[in-house]
């Protein structure tokens, strides 16, 4: 069995033009995935409208309580923007998984397989589009947060790193949903478990309340929760503080999740398409 990326190259004598062609195909697949994301009202609502409503309403409901509980913690928006950015990465990836599932069901993937393009092109396109979506989702959240006191206190370079980290995390996380999409037979069977899982990850992260707000027995779980490591890294990039340990923890989780679920997803993908 050849690898996915090179499976078609055997009958193409010229490597250089093939590479250019492949890039064009990857780009086309990415653009297609992105355009589809923005054409579907439920995905736009989930990616853009819902996170913004969540930020506004969470600030209105919990600002007084969390700020008085966490006396040294300062402005609630400073905590909430990284938290809800991670929330957007988690829940937003469900939209990409749904799009991928639709492609599997509609026969688009099978059709792509019959064309002389890299078999990985639609997968790569989905993941690249997810990265672009994350970048597009992070910016309005930070901009809106700015109105309520959220600041990039570490300067523009750290702000860029903040966006970059969010994009990397999004492109890693989405593999879990893509793998599930190759296993299920209905959209609901895809959406409900992902929703439940991401809800738990979000609530048990440090993105909504500080660690000390949780009951003592669950604090170790909160600490190692992957979503927590993402929130802590984004929070450090925005607010300052030591970066080495949070970076290692967050990237270990992100790349670990990507490695495991990409391997599973690609294996299933080859079996079903």
């Amino acid at each position: 069995m050849t690898t996915i990326a090179s499976s078609h190259n055997s009958d193409q004598p010229l490597e250089a033009p093939a590479l250019a062609q492949d890039s064009a195909v990857f780009l086309a697949c990415t653009i297609r995935s992105l355009r589809r994301l923005f054409r579907r009202s439920d995905i736009v609502v989930g990616t853009v409208v819902f996170p913004i409503l969540l930020l506004l309403t969470m600030l209105a409901v919990f600002s007084s309580a969390v700020e008085s509980f966490d006396a040294g913690g300062g402005n609630y928006a400073q905590r909430l923007v990284p938290g809800l950015t991670v929330s957007g990465l988690l829940f937003g990836s469900i939209g990409s998984s749904v799009g991928f599932f639709t492609d599997l069901q509609s026969g688009f993937m099978t059709r792509m397989r019959s064309l002389p393009v890299p078999a990985a092109a639609p997968l790569v396109g989905t993941v690249a589009a997810e990265g672009a979506r994350a970048a597009l989702a992070v910016v309005p959240m930070a901009a809106l947060g700015h109105l309520f006191g959220f600041r990039f206190e570490n300067g523009p370079l750290a702000a860029l790193a903040y966006v970059g980290v969010a994009v990397v995390i999004a492109m890693c996380l989405v593999w879990a949903g893509l793998w599930l999409a190759t296993l299920v037979s209905s959209q609901e069977a895809l959406i409900s478990p992902l929703n439940a899982l991401y809800l738990v990850l979000l609530f048990l992260s440090q993105g909504l309340v500080p660690l000390e707000a949780y009951p003592d027995w669950i604090q170790p779980v909160v600490r190692v929760n992957p979503a927590s490591t993402f929130v802590v890294l984004l929070d450090r990039l925005a607010s300052g503080g030591p970066l080495v340990q949070p970076t290692l923890a967050a990237l270990a989780w992100a790349f670990g999740i990507a490695a495991v679920f990409a391997a599973l997803a690609i294996r299933r993908f080859r079996q079903v398409v």
């Binding site: 409208v49 309403t57 409901v61 919990f62 007084s64 309580a65 509980f69 707000a213």
Partner: protein, 250 residues
Amino acid sequence: MSSPGWLVLGERAVIRSSRNSASIIGAIVFPLLFFALFMLVMQRVMSSRGFDYRQQLPSAIVIQAMLFTAMSSTYYVADDRLSGIMARLRSLPLAGYAPLLGRSLADVARALVSITVVLIVGAIVGMRFEDGLIWLPAYIGVAVLFTMAMSLLLGLIAYMSPSVEGAVSIATIPYLPMIMLSSAFAPIEDFPDWLEPIVRWQPVTVTIDTLRALAGTGDVAEPLMASIAWSVGLILVAGALGARAVRRTT
């Protein structure tokens, strides 16, 4: 004498939802998940504000589950409308209000499942009917009336939607501000001053406050009247508009 149309359609809606595992997950798993997560995340913060989640949270989760119920039914309403079932029903001698009323009765059946589960877990966590279980029927009645109102309102919106996914996502948008900008998760005094009047009088707040007063010892008359006014008003208005929309279906 055969059963009236709305009852037959209600039965069909119950059968249809109960065949779908997602609606069972939505009725039981998600409310309990939110219950557990809010207890874990916010109980310490809120008890520092003198707001006891063990007593107050179950009523909020009940109403959140009622909103989930009404939201899930938008999928079926839009699907019936767009798949042509509704057009077929229109060829039968059936009242205009029958389809949406039937759907909302199925929602009430699902709501009763959610209420039961949440109250049992609430009792385990420490919620008490401080004036006795004599208030339990009223508690359930207020929640059920609210479910019907929301179900008819969202059903009307779903019925007008051009696509199923559009209906589902439109139904999602009011949910978040309605539940978050209410007394569900924090005391009303915690909100910014300019928002307080809206938060205090919107349907979710007055209904949750009624449930809390029925379970606790607070004054029940004021929130109860406001809650019934909202629910009955919405049932009449959304019900009438829904029936008119159904009659116009070709």
